[in-house]
């Protein structure tokens, strides 16, 4: 459903961030991009989000070229990025302005219940903890029912316990409506808990290094020997890149 064809990105200052990246995502697939910091993974996500144009190549969604932010593509950023002047409810409904008020309300309430924040609907962002704020951001992205959800290190600022419960949350939600997920992370365990495929990028400029297709059944246990073996394989793939 998402096609990246020979994507390259060079910034105005001459820095080449990405070189010749091709990647296809199936509908309902969860794909994780891993790589050392600065390898261009977030840039790649920004191109898919339509926030920046690629310098070369093309991004296509269901065959249609993607050149600007698309209603079927949701984005969850590294930070919650909530509008501080809007209540939790209004933040979640931010992308629903075209819908009738009743529909906005119904969808927002449902999603807030889904992320366990119904009691905070009228709170302001400043009253939320980091984990709660990020759940609001997830709710804001989900409420528009995107077919493709882009996640840019969305849990990296959270403590390990909150992070693990967010993984559960995300997988539950994914099981509901099966959106396609493209996730950027530098946390190998996160990649292994969530993804069908792990794509390893290596940097300067970022190129595809390896694609690992995980055959682990869900739910995945971090302590299982298979999980640990996969972790070693991904770490090896990353290490090759660091050594290169």
């Amino acid at each position: 459903m998402l096609q990246l064809e020979h994507i390259g990105k060079q910034f105005a200052n001459g820095v080449v961030a990405l070189h010749d990246i091709s990647l296809h995502l199936q509908a309902g697939e969860i794909v994780t991009l891993v790589g050392a910091s600065g390898c261009g993974k977030s840039t790649l996500l920004r191109l898919v989000a339509g926030l920046e144009p690629p310098s070369t190549g093309r991004v296509a969604l269901a065959g249609e070229p993607l050149t600007a932010p698309h209603p079927a593509v949701g984005v969850i950023f590294q930070e919650p990025r909530l509008m501080p002047w809007l209540t939790v409810r209004a933040n979640v409904a931010f992308g629903l302005a075209q819908l009738p008020a009743a529909e906005q309300m119904a969808r927002t309430d449902a999603v807030l219940a889904r992320v366990g924040l119904s009691n905070f609907a009228d709170a302001l962002p400043r009253q939320l903890s980091g984990g709660m704020a990020q759940r609001v951001a997830i709710a804001r992205a989900l409420v528009t029912r995107p077919a493709l959800l882009l996640l840019d290190e969305p849990f990296s600022a959270l403590d390990p316990f909150t992070k693990a419960s967010m993984h559960e949350h995300l997988l539950d939600i994914w099981a509901d409506t099966r959106p396609t997920l493209l996730l950027v992370t530098h946390d190998v365990e996160e990649a292994l808990v969530l993804s069908d495929r792990v794509v390893v990028l290596h940097g300067h400029p970022g190129r595809l290094s390896q694609t690992l297709t995980l055959d682990l059944p869900r739910p995945r246990r971090r302590t299982s020997p298979e999980f640990q073996a996969w972790k070693q394989r991904v770490l090896d793939a990353l290490a090759v890149e660091v050594g290169a």
Binding site: A49, G50, L51, P69, P71, V73, G74, V75, F77, E79, R81, M83, P84, W85, L86, F94, G95, A97, L124, P125, R126, T144
Partner: protein, 281 residues
């Protein structure tokens, strides 16, 4: 921020508003401490004046100042003075803040307009605004127009700077969220830029209003037959310091009241801010 530090030294009457516009009034447990010194000084002044230690032709007692105001109010003489001064400030503030908002929005939002207009405006800002007085009088006469324009010039720059820097400082990350949801142009301005700029805007408005009150005094001292500033000069000419002090007191009260109105409006609109001033709500 830059705008308020630049104008703060000029803001003696209204007090600098560098703090957040949402700064809360002191709690009931705190105010008596701040009131101790003023009350003590007033009492000392009153006693010294009554004992004749302070010469009444130079520094009349506070009670004398208050009875002067009461007398002006009773004879009806006070109201035209108040009305003219308030009217001039209102007109000048409206004109200056309106232009400051418009041009600030233009230069803040459009880099091309900033490159075109901002150097000129920053250059004009460096002229001490009171230096315009002779020219304005020459061009616009000594009546209302020159006064209102002078006040407008004073109000313009803090508001212009507040709006422009406010827009430039809007968090790129929030703008991106707007873009992800397909917002562009006016919709993006209304739903992201406008609310995000409001805090800086209110700082600019309050600084501008403070300058407006300062400039109305200057304008009325230059030549007026109505207004609180006229009372200042009248008191000086006729050797009545109680009239001068009454006028000063009224300026202070009016300045404070109008500033509080703006502050109240700001608190209403900016209750969402996550700042030191609101953190204990």
């Amino acid at each position: 921020m830059a705008a308020s530090t630049l104008v703060a030294p000029l803001l003696a009457p209204a007090g600098p508003t560098t703090a957040s516009p949402t700064q809360r009034p002191l709690g009931p447990r705190q105010w008596p401490l701040g009131a101790v010194l003023p009350v003590a000084l007033l009492a000392l002044w009153e006693v010294l004046a009554r004992l004749g230690v302070l010469p009444p032709n130079l520094l009349p007692a506070p009670s004398r100042v208050l009875t002067t105001i009461a007398e002006l109010a009773r004879t009806g003489e006070l109201w035209p003075h108040l009305g003219f001064t308030l009217g001039r400030v209102a007109l000048g503030f409206g004109l200056g803040a309106g232009l400051g908002t418009g041009l600030g929005a233009l230069t803040g939002y459009l880099p091309l307009m900033r490159r075109l207009l901002d150097p000129l405006l920053q250059g004009l800002r460096n002229i001490p605004s009171l230096a315009w007085v002779p020219l304005f009088i020459l061009w616009l006469g000594i009546y209302e127009t020159s006064k209102v324009v002078l006040i407008a010039v004073g109000v313009f720059f803090p508001v212009y700077l507040g709006v422009m820097t406010g827009i430039q400082q809007v968090d790129r990350k929030l703008v991106e969220v707007g873009r992800v949801y397909g917002l562009a142009g006016l919709a993006l301005v209304r739903r992201v830029f406008l609310p995000a700029t409001l805090p800086a805007y209110f700082v600019g408005l309050r600084n501008g209003l403070g300058l407006g009150w300062m400039f109305v005094v200057a304008a009325e001292i230059m030549g007026a037959n109505k207004g609180l500033g006229f009372l200042l000069i009248d008191g000086q000419m006729t050797g009545r310091p109680q009239t001068i002090l009454a006028s000063i007191l009224l300026f202070a009260v009016l300045g404070r009241c109008t500033d509080s109105l703006l502050a109240l409006l700001g608190r209403r609109l900016l209750h969402w801010q996550d700042t030191h001033g609101t953190s204990f709500s």
